[in-house]
Each structure stands twice: as C-alpha cells, then as structure tokens.
Symmetry: C2
Subunit: 392 residues, 2 copies
C-alpha cells in the first residue's frame, strides 16, 4: 500500500478480502463466479474467502439468480447491517449525531442542544448520552458499533488527536481524540468540520463518483476541503484549503488576529460589512445573499453593484483554487447555496473567461447533513471492513 512497506502473506489475504467486499459494495448481488472474474482471483479462492466472511456476518447469501446457460448462481450481498458506525458533529453549542449502517445510510439521528458555556466535560457527557439513546432507539447492539467520527469546528491536529483550536466547543489544546475514545470506548476518527462536510459530499452527495473535488464553504470565514485521488488532502501542517487567506479584494490593514483578505471581503460577515457601508437596508440575522438578490431585483443599484462584486470575488477565489488544483468538481456550500441560477451562471461565465480548464461546478446536496455524513464515512474509510477476525 504505502511505498517502502513490506507485505506478508496475511496482507495479501486482507487485500483480497477487501477486493471482494469492494466489488460487493459497488454492485449488490454478485455470484462467487462473477466475483472471481472481477477480482482476478480463482473461484476456489473466492469461495474460501466468501465462506469466511459469511461466517463473520459480513456477507449473506440471498437466493439464486438467473441461469446463464448453466447452473444458477447463488447471489451474495454485502450485509450492510453487520456493523454500525456513529457520526457526530459539534456546531456552536449544538450536537448533531447519528448511527448509520455500513453503506453510510443513516438509521437514527438526533439533535442535542448543549447548555452554554460549553466545556469539555459537558460535551463528552452529551456525546455519551446521545449515543446511548441512539443505540436504544435503533436497537443496535453496542458491540456492533465499529467506531465514531467526530467533526469539530476549527483546526484539528489529527496526528496526536489534539484539537489545537476548536473555538466554539470550549476545547482548547486537549487530547480530544483520546478523551472521547476513553469515555465512549470506541475508536475515534477526528476531523474539522469542513473536512467532514467535504467527505460527506464526496461519498454521499454531489461529488459521488468523482476522483478529485474541492468543497468551498462560505460562512463567517471561507474555507475549502480538498479531495485528490479519492483521498482527503490535509496539507503538510493540516492547513490546506485555508483559502480565506487568499489575496482577493481590497486589503485594508487588518487588525490583530483577524481573518485573511478574501474572508474579510467575501465571507458572510465581510459582505454584511460592505452592505452596511453602502447603507443598504439589510438584516444582519438573515441570509445576506438572498437579501442582496431581492434588493437588486427591486431595483437597488448599489445592491446590484455589490452583488456583482460578490460574484466577482467568489469567482476569483474559485479561479485561483482551480488554477492550482485542476479538480474534477467544485462543490459550493454555506452562503453560496443561496446562489440562484443567474448568479451561478455569472460565476461560470467569469471562470470560462479567466481559466482554461473549468471544473464541473455544483451546489452542495447534503446541506446540514453533510458534516454528519462525512463523519460517518470517515469511520467507514478508516476501518477496512474486510479486516480479519482476531482468531485467524
């Protein structure tokens, strides 16, 4: 797998089991013979591996298929209910949590509001209690849960399992991964919220099937999640996709600890600032893009100018990112979800003018479920579910 690593025979078996499961996850209902053909393994070998995995409950026989001129095939199916995974996302003082089957389909979901101010202990407690309730509701045995994926706002240092900056959750420089692991007694996959949402859209949303994708999120800040070669790319210091720091728009002297130039101009807060400076009647609580579109339609010239400035700014950010990465797809999210057809087309036009290779540009499909789906899929990815039982 990794260059320079050596493999033993067990590793081959593992790989072959994974290969079979992989096929079975893509296409449900395949016979042993078909699997042998698709994996380039011999039929006896496939039979043996399948037998093993049936014993483990990973695969099921589900009746017979149509004959192709001979004995009818026994169809096999990946047993998505063999195990379960849990996903959790902290957002401000809210916790969204769900159990899913091995296909990543949510079985039960639950929303919890934490009492403020949020500290580490109350967050852990919430996780614990919600998990228990979810398992009870869905009737899933605790032993069948393979792991939990947790999305946290801010930059997380995954290596050490330490969150170095998780502003809204009240966890600062704590070895969060280990704490959750100890408390819940489950393997934990930790990542920041944007990475989780990126994986969500990649595995179960707009980006299903592509091999590279940039997920661009405009909120209080601007960030992007990057998937290259079907793998999340994190950067050498976990700081990839921090596109809020790009040099786009005016660059007034920033105050200490303030955001990047792109963010200062074109994040939700940035646009609100611009709108207020222009004296536009906008409600700071409501979605800024919708308000601008409405005002512009109603004939407000400054609103139209600002709206175009926003399109121009966002398109510039996209252009710069695309120039560097040449991704197959770009998924827009956050405030950008409120783009109407006209706005989206305007951005596409600008890009066609600016860069030679324009990726497929789409709005995110999963909305608020993206993070949760990503958390779930990050666990599914982390474990290869062909892993062999302890005994063998």
């Amino acid at each position: 797998m990794i260059r320079g690593r050596t493999g033993n025979t067990k590793f081959v078996k593992q790989m072959n089991r994974e290969g079979i499961l992989h096929q079975l996850r893509q296409e449900p209902r395949l016979s042993r013979a078909e699997l042998a053909a698709k994996t380039n393994l011999s039929r006896p070998c496939v039979s043996a591996l399948v037998e093993e995995m049936i014993q483990e409950g990973l695969i099921r026989e589900v009746g017979t298929g149509e004959s192709k001129g001979g004995r009818r095939p026994i169809l096999l199916e990946y047993n998505v209910q063999a195990y379960a995974v849990v996903g959790a996302v902290f957002e401000g003082s809210e916790l969204e949590m769900a159990v899913a089957d091995m296909k990543g389909e949510l079985i039960a979901q639950r929303h919890t509001r934490l009492k403020q101010p949020v500290d580490g202990d109350s967050a852990l407690k919430a996780l614990e209690e919600t998990l228990a309730r979810l398992l009870a509701v869905s009737g899933i045995d605790r032993d069948r849960v393979v792991g939990i994926g947790v999305g946290l706002p801010g930059i997380t240092q995954r290596r050490s399992g330490t969150v170095s900056h998780a502003p809204s959750t009240g966890w600062m420089d704590l070895p969060v991964g280990r704490e959750i692991e100890e408390r819940l007694r489950l393997p934990v996959v930790l990542d920041n919220d944007v990475n989780m949402m990126t994986q969500g859209e990649f595995f179960g949303g707009a980006g299903a099937g592509v091999s590279s994708l940039v997920y661009m999120y405009v909120g209080t800040g601007i960030g992007a999640g990057i998937i290259l070669d079907k793998q999340l790319y994190r950067g050498s210091r976990e700081a990839s996709g921090e596109i809020g720091y790009m040099r786009i728009g005016d660059s007034p002297a920033r105050r200490k600890g303030e955001f990047g130039v792109f963010e200062r101009n074109f994040s939700v807060t940035g646009i609100h600032g611009k709108a207020q400076a222009l004296g536009l009647p906008v409600d700071p609580e409501a979605g800024i893009l919708r308000q601008l579109i409405r005002l512009s339609r109603e004939g407000s010239a400054p609103a139209e100018v600002l709206l175009n400035e926003v399109y121009h700014g966002w398109a510039s950010g996209i252009a710069n990112t695309v120039s560097v990465l040449d991704p197959e797809m770009l998924v827009l999210s956050g405030e950008m979800l409120h783009l109407d057809e006209a706005g989206l087309n305007r951005i596409r036009e600008l890009l066609l003018e600016w860069v030679p290779v324009v990726p497929d540009i789409r709005l995110a499909e999963l909305r608020e479920r993206a993070g949760l789906m990503g958390a779930v899929h990050s666990v599914l990815e982390a474990h290869s579910f062909a892993s062999m039982p302890a005994g063998s």
Copy 2:
C-alpha cells in the same frame, strides 16, 4: 496498491523486493539482519530475496562491517551501476541529454543545438544520435539502459503519450511518446518541462527529503509543479499548477489567446512591459530582476516602486498557492533565482503577514540541470527496479 485491486503471492514478493531495495537506496551498506529489522521480514526471507537480487546484479556484497558483539555483518550495497537511465530535455531549439546511474547521478551529459525550424523528425534524429554518442562516451551497454525520460515544453497529455501543445519543438498533436519509443526502442516517460524540473528539485535538489513541495517557475509565463505525498500531482486534466491564471494584479482586458492575469503582470514579459511603461532604461534581452535591483540601488524611485510591486505580486501568488496547498516547501525558480537576500526576505515578510502557515522557501538549486535531473528521476520512479526477472 490501488484500491480494489487484488493481489497474489507474486505481488507480495515484488513488494518485499522493493522494500529491501528501497532501504538500500536510502542507506547504503546495510546487513541482511538490519534489512530484516527495517522491513519487518524474517532473516531467512531477506537472505533469499537478497541472494536473488545479487544474482541479478541489483545488489552487491561489499566487505564486512563492525561487530556489535557478535559475528560481523556482511554489508550489502545497492549496485547503482547495474543499469542506466537516460534523460532528455527540449528547450527551444536546444536538446540537453544525459545518462545517469540508478542513483540518478549523471555519468555523461551532452548539449545539442537543433537546426531551425525544428520538426518532429529532426528532433527524433537528434535524440537518436545523441543517445548513441552518450552511450559510446560512457561505455554503457545499450541493453543496460532501462528507459528514457523526455521533458517537453507545453502541456503534455501523458495518458495517450500525445503532446497536445509543444510550441517550440514543432510537435503538435503527435503521439510523441510512441514515436520516441519506436525509434529508440526504449520505454519512454514523457512530461512537460515544469513537471520535470519539479521532480528534479524534489529528488536531487532543494526539495530532497520533503514530502510535499511546490516548484514555482517565472519565465515568459508563470507555472508551478506540485508534489504531494512524494508524488507529482497533475490535476484531473493535467492542468494543475497553472497559477499564471490566478487573479493577481491589474486585469486589463486581455486580447485573444493571451495569458492569465498573474502572468500578464508578473512574468518576465509582464514586468518588462511595466518597466517600459514607466520609461525605465531596461534591456529587454537581459534579466529584468537584476536590472530593477541595480536601478533601484542607483536611486531610481520608479524602479524601486516597480521592484516592490513585483515582490508584492510574486508574494501574492505564493500566498494564494500556499493557502490552498499548505506545502512543506516552496522552491523558486526561473527569474526568481535572481532574487537577492533582501528581496527574498521581503517576500518572506509579506507571507508572514498574510498567511498563518508559511512553508520553507528556497531558491532552486539545480538551475538549468533541473529538467534533466527530473527526466532521469522520472524514469527511476516509473520503473520499480525490484521487478523480477522474466524467468521466475
């Protein structure tokens, strides 16, 4: 290796051979016992594989080492002279070519000037003749050459081995890879010049040892080569690193088929244009940066302003790229090589001000040899030299 692929036992052996060779390439002179420890293979297994590779000439025994309290180890060495690789780079009407050993060290090098206008046939002929001469000079048998890496200007479509845009070599939309392969009867690795230079600096230059790197080249255009996880990243349509299209600097209406905004402003030609517009006495043939630095030192205010604008522009390009990728190192090349300590520091200062995570920034070390080194290493990478003999 690739997800979904199944492996057989031969594959494991191959992996283990590669593992051993990998260790031996990193650290010369290791014993069988040390190799066993480093690769997690048993000593008998290492012995068997080593024996095989000694027979094939890939490894050599080179005396004994110091005892560590027991029998003295027999030291093994990777035999860099077992085979040879060839690198070639076309640049304008010039062809630079070299033979190298398996470590990537150049054994013989040769420069050829093609007569203009260059067409495909004369280029092929030059390749053929220069190769013959290099082999004669270095006394290397043709059978020992494993392949040739060829760097071509412009965008190359590697998949099909077709060069879709190689302006200065006169090869347009030809299946270049196959033609060279047929003519020279050698496996060919084709890539564009920037990618080759990137690999050169990565394997044998400033970037040796890092795992991610951006190689930024400022010439008539501006482009970047990207290495992530020790692998060249090409993008979904071979268009990654086309940072010349970034939105940096003024954006006057571009004329048909013209470059990107960043390029129009801050490539060598762009800067020349700006200098001339300011009425600065610059020689269009000589290096623009050096001239600006000199003029600025001599007290020319507009030169100083322009120089700062250039630093600012380049730093912006770097900032944007770094925001997206978070690479471990940034290697500056082309016109940027003429940056003096003050200029480099100015750029570093700006970056510290703009982005939270600044990579190690260095000037390219290999200069004009970068492409050649890259071509050579691209062949070394393409072939895993642990490949097994046909007989087994």
